[in-house]
C-alpha cells in the first residue's frame, strides 16, 4: 500500500522507520519526502507479509499514517494518445499499449503531477 506518514516535530529525531525495517518483514520504498526539524511528511510504499503489522507499529509509535486515496485519470475525450507523458513519469505508471493507446496505472502513480502539467491537451487529472 501507499501512504503519507506525517511526522510531528518531536518525532523527527526518532528512528521509527529503522525499527520498522529491522523488526518486520516489509519492503519499504520512499517515494517523496519533505521533513525538517519542524516535522513533515513522507510518501511511502510498503509491501511484504508483515506490512499491516508494521503500519500498526509506526502508528503506535506516534506517526500519523494516512493511506493514499488517489485517482489518476486520463480523459479519453481530450487524450490524443501522443505519449508525451510516458517518458516523464518517474515510476513508469504510464505506458503505451499494443494499440498505441496511452495507459495510466492508478496503482503505480505517486501523484507528482508532472504528466498533468506537461500534457499538451490537459487530458490527465490527479485527484487526491
Amino acid at each position: 500500500m501507499k501512504a503519507w506518514l506525517k511526522f510531528s516535530p518531536k518525532m523527527v529525531n526518532q528512528a521509527v522507520i529503522t525499527d520498522l525495517i529491522k523488526n518486520f518483514d516489509v519492503s519499504f520504498n520512499i517515494l517523496r519526502a519533505d521533513i525538517n526539524p519542524k516535522g513533515g511528511k513522507m510518501l511511502i510504499e510498503i509491501k511484504g507479509s508483515e506490512a499491516e503489522k508494521g503500519i500498526t507499529y509506526i502508528e503506535k509509535a506516534g506517526i500519523d499514517v494516512s493511506p493514499v486515496k488517489r485517482v489518476v485519470k486520463k480523459d479519453k475525450e481530450l487524450c490524443i494518445d501522443c505519449g508525451a507523458c510516458v517518458s516523464l513519469c518517474p515510476v513508469k505508471a504510464i505506458s503505451v499499449d499494443e494499440d498505441w493507446a496511452v495507459d495510466v496505472n492508478d496503482e503505480e502513480c505517486i501523484g507528482c503531477k508532472l504528466c498533468t502539467y506537461s500534457c499538451p491537451t490537459k487530458a490527465i487529472k490527479v485527484v487526491e
Partner: protein, 514 residues
C-alpha cells in the same frame, strides 16, 4: 507502368488495391517491389503531430453598416486582419491577449472550437472610412455562419525531425515538450515509416494539387512548405533530419474535430495537432520500394535542446524503431523516449483514407507541379546588430575570495572594490561558490565567521563564448543579479552583472540613436 488515370478507373470500379504504409512494408518484404508494384495501387500514409505553422483564413461577411476591420479578436486571440475588410487569418501559435490565459488558449484552440461548431466571440475595430463607417463591433460567430473557413498551413508534415534531449541540470520547456534535466528523457515527433514524405522521399508523386486527407476532410497540397529543404544528408534514401515540408489547404467546414486538436506545450506556447494523410500512387516498382521504408530504416538525430542556439549539437543517431521501443541508449545509459505525435491517430488516418478510397469516395490527382527535389535550402536570419559575446564585455577587474576567508575581510574587499558579488575559488582559480553582499549581511546577523558557511555552492554561470542576450535571459529566469564567467578549463575569468548588461544596452541604443 501504371497511370493515375488507370488507378482512378480501378477505384471507380471498386477494384483498386489500397494498403497502408505499415502494411506495404511487410508486403514488399515478402513479395519484392516488382510484384508489389503490380498488386498494389495506392499506399496511404498518415501523421498526427503538433504543427505550429498552421492557421486559417476566415471570411466573416459584411455588417450593416459595414466595417473595414484593422484589428480582430476571436475569443480574445488576435487574428491578422490586414487584408481587405472582413477577412482574417488566425494563426495557431497566437496566444490570448488576456495575460492570465496567455498560451493556455491560443489560435489553435480557436480553430478547434470552430471545427467543433462552438460559438466564438468576435471583437473587431477599425478607423472608419466613407464606405466603411463602422469602427467597432462585438458579436458571436460559428463555422456555419462564416462565408469561408479555409485552413491554410504554411509548413506541415516535416519529412523527418530531430528528437530532443536536454543536457543541462534543469528541466526545460520547449516545442518538443518537457525535457528533463541531465538527459532524463528523449522526445521525438514523427510517424516514422507511416509519415507521408518519408514514403515519397524524392517527391516523385507529391506536388501542387495532390488531393489529401486533412483533418478529416479532403484537402490539397498547395506546394512546398516554408523552409522546404532538399539538401539534408540522407541515409537509406531518406533524410536524417527535418527536410521537405508541405503547404496544405482544406475546408474547415468539412473537417472532423477527431483529427485536429488545439494544444499547449507548457511554458512554450499553443500549437495545432494536424491530422494529415497522403495517398501515394504505386506507379512503378521504384515507388513501391520507397514506400516499403520501415521505422528501423529511418535515422533520427538526437539533438541537445539545452543549447539555445540555431544549430544544436547532435548527441547520437538512432532510428524510429528504437525510439518507439520506449528507450534508447546514450553514452551507455538507457534513456526513456516518448513521442510527441500520436502514432495511434496516424494509423487511424492512414486507415480512414484507405477506406475512403476503397469505397470509391476519394480519387487521386495528377499534381500540376511536383515538389522541388533539389536546390532548395532555407537560409538563416542574420541579425544586423552584431551579437555581443560575454568576453567582449568590459567588466571590472576580477576580485575573488577563498572559502576559508574571514567574513570581515571579504566585506572589506567588497566595499573597497565597490562590488556586490564575489566568486569563491580554489588555488587553481576553479569555482567553488559565490557570495553576495546579502550573504555577508546574513552571516553577520547569524554570527557565522567563515565564508564557506554562507556562500552559495550551486552557482549559475556564464561561459565566455555565450551571447550576452542568452545571459540576460538566464539572469531573468533565475532572478539573480550576476554570475561568474567561466573559461573552457572551468576557471573563473570575471563576473557579469545585470548592471553590465544594462550599461551595454544603453551604449548600444545611444549608438543607434534610439
Amino acid at each position: 507502368m501504371k497511370t493515375i488515370e488507370e488507378i482512378n478507373q480501378r477505384i471507380k470500379d471498386g477494384d483498386a488495391v489500397v494498403v497502408t504504409a505499415a502494411e506495404m512494408t511487410q508486403i514488399v518484404k515478402e513479395d519484392g517491389a516488382d510484384k508489389a508494384a503490380k498488386d498494389i495501387d495506392v499506399v496511404t500514409t498518415g501523421t498526427f503531430g503538433a504543427m505550429c505553422s498552421s492557421g486559417a483564413f476566415l471570411n466573416f461577411g459584411h455588417t450593416d453598416p459595414p466595417i473595414k476591420m484593422t484589428k480582430s479578436y476571436l475569443n480574445g486571440v488576435e487574428a491578422y486582419s490586414g487584408l481587405a475588410a472582413v477577412d482574417s487569418y488566425i494563426g495557431a501559435t497566437q496566444p490570448s491577449k488576456n495575460p492570465e490565459i496567455g498560451i493556455d488558449y491560443g489560435g489553435a484552440h480557436v480553430i478547434e472550437d470552430l471545427i467543433r461548431g462552438r460559438d466564438i466571440e468576435l471583437v473587431a475595430s477599425s478607423y472608419g472610412t466613407d464606405c466603411y463607417p463602422l469602427t467597432d463591433l462585438r458579436t458571436h460567430i460559428n463555422i456555419d455562419n462564416l462565408n469561408e473557413a479555409i485552413m491554410v498551413n504554411p509548413r506541415n508534415c516535416y519529412q523527418n525531425y530531430a528528437s530532443a534531449v536536454n543536457s543541462t541540470d534543469e528541466t526545460i520547456y520547449t516545442y518538443m515538450g518537457t525535457l528533463l534535466s541531465n538527459m532524463g528523457n528523449v522526445s521525438f515527433s514523427s510517424a516514422g515509416g507511416l509519415s507521408p514524405l518519408l514514403n515519397d522521399p524524392y517527391f516523385q508523386t507529391i506536388g501542387m494539387g495532390t488531393r489529401i486527407f486533412l483533418c478529416g476532410a479532403e484537402g490539397y497540397v498547395i506546394g512546398e512548405g516554408t523552409q522546404h529543404n532538399t539538401e539534408v544528408q540522407r541515409k537509406n534514401g531518406v533524410p536524417v533530419n527535418g527536410a521537405g515540408t508541405l503547404m496544405l489547404k482544406g475546408d474547415m467546414k468539412q473537417m472532423d474535430h477527431e483529427f485536429v486538436r488545439g494544444a499547449t506545450m507548457p511554458k512554450y506556447g499553443s500549437t495545432l495537432y494536424v491530422g494529415a494523410g497522403i495517398p501515394i500512387p504505386i506507379l512503378n516498382s521504384d515507388i513501391a520500394s520507397k514506400t516499403a521504408i520501415s521505422d528501423e530504416d529511418i535515422v533520427c538525430q538526437v539533438m541537445d535542446y539545452g543549447v539555445p542556439k540555431r544549430s544544436k549539437p547532435i548527441v547520437v543517431e538512432t532510428n524510429y524503431k528504437e525510439l518507439r521501443s520506449g528507450s534508447i541508449e546514450i553514452n551507455g545509459v538507457e534513456i526513456e523516449s516518448s513521442p510527441l505525435s500520436s502514432y495511434k491517430k496516424a494509423l487511424e488516418i492512414a486507415e480512414e483514407l484507405k477506406s475512403w478510397i476503397d469505397k470509391g469516395n476519394f480519387f487521386l490527382t495528377n499534381p500540376v507541379k511536383l515538389l522541388a527535389s533539389q536546390g532548395s535550402s532555407p537560409g538563416p536570419l542574420e541579425i544586423r546588430r552584431q551579437t555581443i559575446l560575454v568576453n567582449e564585455i568590459k567588466s571590472k577587474a576580477l576580485i575573488i575570495a577563498s572559502p576559508n576567508d574571514d567574513i570581515r575581510d571579504v566585506a572589506k574587499r567588497m566595499v573597497q572594490n565597490n562590488v556586490n558579488h564575489l566568486p569563491v575559488v580554489d588555488a587553481d582559480q576553479k569555482l567553488l561558490g559565490i557570495v553576495t553582499s546579502w550573504d555577508i549581511a546574513n552571516a553577520v546577523a547569524k554570527g557565522k565567521p567563515m565564508l564557506k558557511e554562507v556562500m552559495t555552492k550551486k552557482v549559475v554561470i556564464a561561459r565566455e563564448d555565450e551571447p550576452v542576450d542568452v545571459i540576460a535571459r538566464r539572469i531573468d529566469k533565475h532572478e539573480i543579479s550576476g554570475m561568474p564567467i567561466i573559461d573552457k578549463n572551468n576557471r573563473v575569468m570575471g563576473m557579469i552583472t545585470a548592471e553590465d548588461i544594462s550599461r551595454l544596452m544603453c551604449a548600444r541604443n545611444r549608438e543607434e540613436g534610439v
